[in-house]
């Protein structure tokens, strides 16, 4: 009898196990390691952390020949053809899209303002992308499981959509700052000017392909209020903190890569003009001179680094800001628009804005010190000349946009100034005019990829040499 009892606990344990097959709840499988809620401004702030990448790139900075490589010259010789845009979609754009599609919290600032900032940033990022790749997914993008194979929209349609997005943002903004804003500390008056400034710059981009539409959008944006001081500048504020440090600091100091010298075309242009920005852009070589390095050298050429001017030390501090959209850009744009007859005032307005642009550019780069301005302006080449105004504006904008390679490259493609020579023997001796789509699209989104490549506005292959819509030959 007693012995029989001994197995009862075993059987009982077994029956208990058999009976425990109840269902689990959803909570049992909710990831305890990640938050289930995110506020709109936290998502926007995360999107803002990607902005510096629009400028701080080891590729973009070479196309307009701001920097040359001292060693490992592959990037300056256009060896990379295909560039991945997935990070932009799955990163900042999806954060912004989620913020735009979710219920926002009024405790973080007026909801319309949160939405307006998300729209301005969305427009800014898509603008950057379409200028690099041309036609890209827009209307069907960012839909998650609803569409894993979005179609590619025409660049023209994307521009129209972005103009509309910026109109909506401009109209919606009310008084009241928002929280968690890295770029402007939540200051909505600055955001409003920023949105209208990029609207204006985008409009100018149509100068070759659709000047009528360009002029209309330009005037509208200008009237809505654009940047009016360098304090309005849109610059990523890096920190003296490894988690938020400047790209060039990372390259030069953290990785010890003295691979980037200021290019010969840029130094050769600036030096004879006594440009006061040159000592900011470039360091002296060991012998005490500013010497630019030939652009796009083959890797077999030995460069003695001491003989050339490396990227200026002040631009590669751990917390050096990265300028993305600036007051001087708005001024150069207005000068050009006046010269093109898009806005009133012709050469008079053009000259006023051009002169102010030079001054504000120097103030921006030289920490408000304009002591070098008179000598610089004493050179005839920089004095406004109605006969060469477009070239002067474009060339000075090229100088002003130093390090903001992708933007400078887009303006070079649009205006053709300054005259640059491709890296010798690279890419068939052509400077790239777009970047290739990510190779992953060929397998992940085959039909839409093929359709996009098959209908490039001016033909060509998915390489560096086809032209985007606004870059009309």
């Amino acid at each position: 009898m007693k012995k029989i009892h001994l197995f009862i606990p075993i059987l009982f344990a077994g029956l208990l196990l058999l009976g425990s097959c109840k269902k689990f709840t959803e909570e049992d499988n909710t990831d305890p390691n990640r938050p289930t809620k995110a506020s709109g401004t936290q998502l926007i702030a995360n999107a803002e952390m990607f902005l510096a990448d629009m400028s701080s790139s080891p590729f973009g900075v070479h196309y307009p020949q701001h920097l040359s490589n001292t060693s490992f010259t592959d990037n300056s010789r256009y060896t990379t053809i295909y560039f991945n845009f997935y990070g932009w979609y799955a990163g900042p754009l999806m954060n912004l899209e989620t913020a735009l599609n979710s219920t926002l919290d009024a405790n973080e600032g007026p909801i319309v303002n949160q939405q307006a900032v998300a729209k301005i940033l969305k427009a800014f990022i898509f603008w950057h992308m379409t200028d690099r790749w041309g036609d890209i997914p827009y209307t069907e993008a960012l839909k998650g499981a609803a569409n894993f194979t979005p179609k590619y929209d025409k660049q023209q349609d994307i521009y129209n959509n972005l103009f509309q997005l910026l109109d909506e943002a401009n109209a919606a903004i009310v008084t009241g700052n928002i929280k968690n804003d890295i770029m402007y500390g939540g200051d909505m008056t600055k955001w409003k000017k920023m949105g209208n400034t990029i609207h204006m710059l985008m409009a100018l981009r149509l100068s070759k392909v659709d000047p009528v539409k360009g002029a209309a959008e330009f005037i509208k944006a200008n009237n809505n209020g654009v940047m009016a001081a360098n304090t309005d500048n849109f610059a990523y504020p890096h920190l003296a903190d490894p988690a938020n440090e400047n790209y060039w600091y990372n390259q030069f100091t953290r990785l010890g890569r003295n691979w980037f010298a200021v290019s010969k075309p840029l130094v050769d242009y600036m030096k004879p003009l006594d440009d006061p920005r040159l000592p900011v852009f470039a360091n002296k070589n060991t012998a005490g001179n500013y010497v630019g390095l030939d652009y796009g050298l083959p890797g077999s050429t030995t460069v003695v680094i001491n003989n050339y001017s490396l990227l200026g030390s002040g631009l590669r501090l751990q917390n050096s800001p990265v300028y993305l959209v600036t007051y001087a850009q708005a001024l150069f744009a207005k000068a050009e628009a006046a010269k093109l007859g898009w806005i009133a005032g012709a050469d008079v307005t053009a000259k006023t804005n051009y002169d102010l642009a030079l001054e504000q550019s120097i103030r921006q780069w030289n920490n408000n010190d304009i002591s070098g301005l008179p000598l610089f302006k004493s050179h005839v080449e920089v004095q406004y000349d109605p006969l060469t105004a477009i070239k002067q504006i474009a060339t000075q904008r090229w100088v002003h946009l130093f390090l903001n390679g992708y933007e400078a490259w887009a303006e070079w493609r649009r205006t053709g100034y300054p005259a640059l020579v491709a890296a010798p023997g690279a890419n068939g001796n052509q400077i790239p005019r777009r970047e290739g789509y990510p190779v992953q699209e060929r397998s992940n989104n085959t039909a839409n990829y093929n359709a996009a490549v098959g209908s490039f506005p001016y033909g060509g292959n998915d390489d560096l040499n086809a032209r985007v819509w606004w870059d009309k030959p």
């Binding site: 196990l17 979609y89 968690n180 992953q440």
Partner: protein, 1062 residues
Amino acid sequence: MKTKRLVIMLCCMIFPCWMMAQTRLITGTVRNNSGNVVPAASVLLKGTSNGVSADEAGRFSINVSGKNPVLVISSAGFGSQEISVGSADDYNIVLNGTGQLEGVVVTALGISRKERSLGYATQQIKGENLTLTKEQNVLGSLAGKVAGVQVVGASGASLGGTQKTKIRGVNSLNGNDQPLIVVDGTPISNSNFGNSNGNGPDLGNVAQDINPDDIESVNVLKGPAASALYGLRGQYGVILITTRKGKRGAKKIDVQYSSAFSIEKTGNFLPLQDIYGVGNNQTFLVLANGDKYVNGNDESWGPKMDGTPVRMYYSFYPQDAEFGKLTPFIPHPDNVKDYFRTGFNIVNNIAVSGGNENMSFRLSYNNAYIKGVMPGTSLTRNNIGLNSSLDITKKLTAGANINFANNKATRPSQGYQGTATGQVQWFQRNIDMNRLKNYRYADGTIMNWNVNPNTTTGIITNNKPSDWNNPYFDAYANSNDDNRDRIFGDINLSYQVIPGLKLAAFLRSDMYTQNISHKEALGGRLDEGYSVTKYQNKEFNYEFLAQYTKLFGQVSFNANVGANKYTRNVSSVSGATVGGLSSPAFYSLAGSVARPNLSSFILNKEIRSVYAMASFGYRDIYFLDASIRNDVSSTLPVQNNSYSYPSVSASFVFSELTKWKPLSFGKLRASYAVAGGDVDPYQTRNTYNVGTVYVGPTATINTLSVPDRLNNAGIKPSFGKALETGVELKFLNNRLGIDFTYYIQRNENQTIELNVSGTSGFATTVANAGLIENKGIELSLTGTPVQSKFFTWNTTLNFARNRSMVKELYPGINVYQLDNNVYSSVPIFLNAAVGKPFGSLVGQAYLRDSATGQIKLDAANLPLFETNHDFGTVLPKFTGGFLNSFKIWKFDLNAMIDFQSGGQFFSWTKMLAIKSGQAEETAALNDKGVNVRETPANGGGVRVDGISNATGLPVTAYVDARSYFRNTIGTRIYEEWLFDASYIKLREVSLGFNFEPAMLKKTPFKTAKLAFIARNPAMIWQKAPKGLEPSELSYGSGSISWLEKGEFQTVRSYGVSLNLSF
């Protein structure tokens, strides 16, 4: 009385058991006439249909009734024997006959079965065959020994690195199809804490915590039929390990001691050139003072190493004895080899075992120490094992199997920019490795080669290396430390309710704590820093099993009903300093200069299962099995989390029906089985990621982001369905054996992280996708070609061929990216594409003329390339092994060969050795007899034959070597760096001498054996070029071995082992 009735009623509800009146219980043990137990003999009460079968230890219990009962005991190969039951309760039965002991194998849930009754393929290996040469990772010692089991190992330099096991090819789209490891019924973790990207230390798979000297046998259950009772965790096969136990019987104590010592040497170095030194052209650089010098460039495309006096890196350090001095620019042919040292490996094991009639006991201790072949690396391991069981009463038995393991290592890094593996990739052929050894000057300055002097002063001003640390600095100052404490095993109770009916309960657990840390010292490429992870894993299985066996005359019946609750809890905390350390060498998170990166992680998972299995046998000739299992998993969406799956199998021992003498055994078998699978936790609900914190001057901003992976609330369980059939034949008194299996397995609805177009806002989505079909054959031949008193030769040949085919993926998506690799912005993808074999490599290949297949050349006569070329699958055509053992007088000679045909891998090492101008072919003679490094104008250059892309005309040209090797094929043409992974490898050799008892008379030893052992002594043949190791491609946790990006140098070890018993 009431409770008894209740219990019996319950039992009768579960099992068809027939209770008899006036019975008494008889027990016994069946042995052959040499005293060895005969497992699984039939015991029948004569004149009735009442019978039982003995267990694997030969023990049985049976109820007898009636007057003068007689038991009939029989077993295949032996005659039957009748025993009259007297007044005694326990009988020792001796069966006469010369028959071989019939195989009994341990199957799912630890149930011992007669081999003949199984309707599916299993293959068993004895423990002594696993420890031939004291391989320390038990999975590594399986290589080649089981048909259909592919083991891809890692070099011994990794110190217990990854041994990746796949049974019957690739069965899962994400490649995470590692078999379940079960030790004495306890499933244990075989996680891998190495990086999946192939960089950093290879910590190996944690099944290496099993003490190889404790293993009695390993049985591999290959398909779902064999493993259906393990459910989803067994869907990719099960490796069942049975440990050695003490023996019951007359009181007896055994002491076993074994010891082995081996020397470890590196081998198989990539051939490098010794003509040209550092630089990217052949002109020497010149300092301001006119001295020729060489800089910290990491290419060897420079001037000839002709003894020209130059300033070298050390001459730029004022602290150096040769500061400012010129030294001859000469080659150091063995500079890569010189870095390695001779290591050793020492293993000691002692085990005490014993038992009496009602208990058994075994206690073992194992200690292993490895001094690595790479400086500064070592591993220490300790294992303690305890197995015991005790009959508390005649019916109630309690047991415990407890294993403790401790593993502590300082490991080398592998991969790109790892320690020393980089010297083949990017280095200077003119550097004397020994000159780098004293890496720190007296004032603390680190001596670096990969730095440049100020050309005016001739002094190094920026002492931060661009890409490569001094390898000795990496070895001694930057250490990778890890240690793990682990306990696994079970405690159990079993109760023999009535003869044939046994209830058992088990508490099984596997618990370990893994610590991983890395120190980065001041003065190198990276910030000084410290990172540490503490990871705790707890797995429990609460298990109940009721087993009923019964013989009804010619019919045997066996039923099992069980339930299991599985829980897994992981918690980990990890941190890394940021921005340097506040005080030099203060390796603590508290030393972080900036806000440290910290994270914590929790994982909880539970599966509740019930299962039942029944098997019938008729006349020991016909067998039929069926099983069913239901799982409820916490990781699936609530509506889909309960699912069932069945299996059925049959076998037919036809040799019993034929009278053809040469055939000693013949069996046909067939099975169909389904195994279900769930998913990893937390993939059904979307959450956010914690982003970088912006600690601004006015506010701290905590950012959050949308993850790149889209979870799926509609995920369903996946199922693997397998049909298998086989035949087993033994001839000439078992001298020759053939075991053949054909199988087809379809794995459906796999849950994968499907790569989607990033334009959707997500990089991947969790999806049920796909159908992979595996078809294959397994063949195992065993033979004893010679059997005599002085010479016996036993041989086993295993062969397996598997074809994996992707049948379906996901609507609208035909390619699933399994893995990728990017160097210098050029990607290569490992894809699963619909209609193609699993694991196809897609990347840049030569652009070829479609008509002639000739390479197309650009205007400079350099080869052009095309993207997205399909190079075919990376999986092998067939794999296998060849084990031979010879007994010659007192000597044992064992040799294990394993082989693989087909498969391919991508080699960074070869690509970079060429790109950096170090490989032999970059300074070879061209067909004019001139070095390719000479200019084409001087008769040099690399000969290129092809077709001009512009003109379409054939071209033969000589092109600049650097433009060709470094900038063209080394950068763009990945076709050049794919190599066939076929090989034949001599993996293990041992030559032992068994001392005769007579020779040991004056010693305390009962037996003694001394052996010479060699692990990995030779690669007999490989298709890939010298310097690469196709059988050692595993690193860390990556699932498919196709990429070599700086693998450790092959290690060969030679030693002696001694086994003693007291």
